[in-house]
């Protein structure tokens, strides 16, 4: 017999079956639909539907509390009890967990906990797909090739605990990326959007935007490696700051092994990172960027604890007025470091009060580079958080406020922490899709940043 019951019923049944000292059950119901295209034609597409049940058992012992985490997709009725027992066995085999804490209590139940999951399907593309076909036709007529991907997922997560929590969160996530190339592939441009439902994205408008950028690239300008005044667009700022936040675990900093460690001990919390009045924050209720208002941790790690499931996620300022205000902590690492509890984040917003659009920042540039996006970003040195990577799909030379042509691509070596300290201007904050990390993190709002001396380490021939 297959389980056809509602997720909350499965959660309740798993909790009933538990014989451990504590138990957390997470049911994830996921559906997705996607379209992928290359050379003005669809290549692959698909719809998926899945359910994953995660059981976290905690077992008290003389030396501490142990935890065991076991997840299964497509769980059948007869597999439910073995799954719970497997989590309990894993807990007993693991030894005391260093992040052990009492399971969370007191978070009010979510409305709709007993309702069925939200779902997406190919219907999300009902209006978008014909518009995409029209964009292909326009691109072909205009001498452009379109490549890209549209993806929509809906995840309904149900969390129940033996301490009485009954929480539910529905997370829609849509991404649209369009890459336009000239038929000889010597020119390339990119645009991306985050969307919750594909009602606010227009592929024909993106094609028109990319046509302008391909037009800019008709004039080629070769520039050597070096340090250039550079305008980083919001998507590039998002990619850099996401990595910075992934490196912002308080415990690692307190142990002296990150860029946020203070020489001699402790962390850099309270230190000024930027001369600009930058605020870097996350807020589960941010309009258009809504994310889970409570911790959902399928396992423990450096900046997450399975024991914290259900803990409220408050709006948090990570950088306030240019000063480092918070590092990510679990309840355990907060106690270790003496810093406030600051759970991980589902969105990231940088704001410096700037009013200028990207176009206005370009218009105010005497001579500099305008990037489109960054790619293949990897950490070179954790001590400085030096990252390397490449520019991609359009580096434009700006002279006297006008784009005058496209420059070759570059490899960069830069630290986002240093960039914040050197940024001379921040533009208007706007929703943006990170290019590199959007498989993992999508909900961001960022301004463009002006960097007076961005380090272009070498020239890349890649287009």
């Amino acid at each position: 017999m297959r389980i056809r019951t509602k997720p909350h019923e499965i959660v309740e049944r798993a909790l009933e079956l538990s014989t451990a000292d504590g138990c957390v059950v997470i049911a994830d119901e996921e559906s997705s639909a996607n379209l992928r295209w290359a050379g003005n034609a669809l290549t692959t597409n698909g719809v998926t539907r899945g359910r994953t049940l995660t059981v976290i058992a905690t077992v008290n012992g003389k030396e501490g509390t142990a935890s065991g985490v076991v997840s299964r997709s497509a769980v059948t009725a007869e597999e439910l009890e073995p799954l719970v027992r497997a989590a309990e066995a894993a807990a007993r085999g693991a030894g005391p967990a260093e992040d052990a804490q009492p399971l969370v209590t007191g978070t009010p139940a979510s409305p709709g906990f007993t309702d069925g999951p939200a779902e997406t399907s190919s219907a999300v593309f009902t209006d978008f797909a014909p518009a995409l076909g029209e964009a292909f036709a326009r691109a072909r007529a205009g001498g452009r090739e379109l490549y890209g991907f549209a993806h929509h997922t809906m995840v309904s997560t149900y969390v129940g605990t033996s301490t009485g929590l009954r929480l539910r969160h529905d997370q829609p996530t849509g991404t649209l990326e369009v890459n336009a190339k000239s038929p000889d592939r010597s020119r390339s441009a990119w645009a991306g959007r985050y969307t919750r439902d594909f009602k606010d994205v227009d592929p024909t408008a993106l094609d028109a935007e990319l046509a302008v950028r391909l037009g800019w690239a008709e004039r080629k300008i070769d520039l050597p490696a070096g340090r250039y005044e550079t305008i980083l667009p919001p998507t590039a700022v998002a990619d850099l700051l996401i990595y910075q936040m992934w490196s912002a675990a308080a415990r690692d900093a307190a142990e002296g092994r990150t860029v946020f460690s203070k020489p001699g001990g402790g962390t850099r919390v309270g230190e000024r990172l930027s001369g600009l009045p930058l605020t870097l924050r996350s807020d589960p209720a941010a309009p258009g960027l809504e994310s889970a208002p409570f911790v959902i941790a399928h396992s423990s790690g450096d900046d997450a604890s399975a024991f914290d499931n259900g803990l409220p996620v408050p709006a948090t300022e990570w950088i306030s007025g240019g000063e480092l205000a918070r590092l990510t902590t679990t309840r355990h690492s907060a106690a270790l470091t003496g810093l406030p509890t600051a759970p991980g984040f589902g969105n990231l917003i940088l704001d410096a009060g700037g009013e200028k659009s990207l176009e206005e920042m370009v218009a105010a540039t005497e001579r500099g580079l305008l990037l489109t996006c960054l790619w293949y970003i990897r950490e070179v040195d954790p001590a400085t958080l030096l990252l390397t990577g490449l520019t991609r799909d359009g580096v434009y030379l700006v002279e006297n406020g006008q784009v005058v042509g496209a420059v070759n691509n570059f490899r960069f070596n830069e630290s986002p922490v240093d960039l914040l300290s050197r940024a001379s201007e921040a533009g208007r904050t706007e929703k943006t899709l990170p290019r590199e990390w959007n498989d993992y993190f999508t909900r961001t709002a960022m301004p463009a940043l002006r960097i007076p001396d961005f380090n272009m380490s070498s020239v890349s021939q890649g287009v």
């Binding site: 997705s32 379209l35 290359a38 050379g39 003005n40 034609a41 669809l42 597409n45 698909g46 719809v47 998926t48 065991g68 985490v69 997840s71 299964r72 997709s73 085999g93 693991a94 030894g95 967990a97 260093e98 992040d99 190919s122 014909p130 076909g133 292909f136 036709a137 072909r140 090739e145 490549y147 890209g148 991907f149 993806h151 890459n179 190339k181 002296g256 020489p263 001699g264 399928h298 396992s299 790619w375 293949y376 990897r378 070179v380 040195d381 400085t384 030096l386 390397t388 490449l390 991609r392 490899r411 070596n413 830069e414 498989d439 380490s457 070498s458 020239v459 021939q461 890649g462 287009v463």
Partner: protein, 520 residues
Amino acid sequence: MIVATDPHHGRTSVPHSIDAAFAALPLRALADAALARARALGSDHADFRLERIRSASWRQRDARPSGGSDTTDLGYAVRVVHGGSWGFASGVDLTMDGAAKVASQAVAMAQLSAKVIKAAGSDERVELADEPVHEDRTWVSAYEVNPFEVADEEKAALLADFSARLLRADGVAHVDASLLAVHENKFYADTAGTVTTQQRVRIHPELTAVAVDGTTGEFDSMRTIAPPAGRGWEYLTGTGWDWDSELERIPELLAEKMRAPSVRAGRYDLVVDPSNLWLTIHESIGHATELDRALGYEAAYAGTSFATFDQLNKLTYGSSVMNVTGDRTAPHGLATIGYDDEGVEAQSWDLVKDGTLVGYQLDRRIAKLTGLGRSNGCAYADSPGHVPVQRMANVSLQPDPGGLSTEDLIGGVERGIYVVGDRSWSIDMQRYNFQFTGQRFFRIENGKLAGQLRDVAYQATTTDFWGSMEKVGGPQTYVLGGAFNCGKAQPGQVAAVSHGCPSALFRDVNILNTTQEAGR
């Protein structure tokens, strides 16, 4: 320290059967229901793939458990060619009705795709290269002990013991340990009549020692260079890697690294150890010779390739000592299989011969599209929820049969650097410009190692770098490296892949000082 991982080294692997619980699933009945529905709806081709993938991690921080997970993904997928378009759908309902419904969804997606293609005025149609029918084949990878049959207590105790050995040493402030293991079962059936059932096991242990200078605030780390392998638990207990030797040396190497001088940027000859070179091969050859990428099918995401199709049999990829193969059959390789996810039998072939590009990695659609004949078996999906895409074979640099030892390669360098272990990697979207760091960099002076250097990165263009390869080492230097986490495609998929290589000597390579790059 390098321990050879010659494919035939160590004990003979124990033959295993397909896991009984997987074999007991209604594999054929579900496939029949799905394929019958696809046929009835008029599909030209349909394939059904049911997978169960168990992935687990065990993590310790300073020898104490710090998190872990044990995840099993079970589901199935139906892919069709219908009306000249692809359609794909997946599901988890293991009933005949459920499988038929998913087949209908796949056909509906193909019809949606066809509409978009028509609206765009395109006449492109999907066709697949021929492949012999493989009826009722089973294949199991080479391993001795399934890591999932080892008690968690034993795993935790071994990781704690390894960590404790490092923590006992002076200068080691912290140790992070992790063990990843995967047990993968796949059942595949298609409308041509191929039916395959397969089982793979792979494992990746890793330990990192961290040193912190409390006064200056400086810190650094040293990670084990044992590669992930298509082996079982025996990999941690003496087969395929000498853990005792490696763990014993790390504290001393880390302490030396903390004291080491910062490199002077400039041009150096490099002897690159297999523990580092595998990743350079992966990025600059492995991905560059994926023909779907070269043709533009990854253009929007992972990028294209400088090794374009018109360059086949013409492009000078590197020096004349460069010979690279694609191989789906290497024992213990992470990309080793019996049959790919399109029912194509595993093969081995040349990619670069005497420095010239002579081959690509293919799936059935790309093979047909380019007229290259039979696919060489590079279609792979990382889960039942994902469509098979062209994924990397084990791409390996061949040793010189009579080649030198690593020590002798170093002996041929007057002023250079010996690079060991991988760390940071990045390459551009056409696979030209790359930058790599490592775990350990040793100065070479007059043919001898002369202590470690810090802050080193090497940066080059692919063909310049491989063109500067003067010598490859002998079989005694050959090691099968690799990774669990090669990313490609949209939606994103990860695949495990191995790369074998000998040590090799490169002349006049650009070395950066990473602290200078950081503006310090």
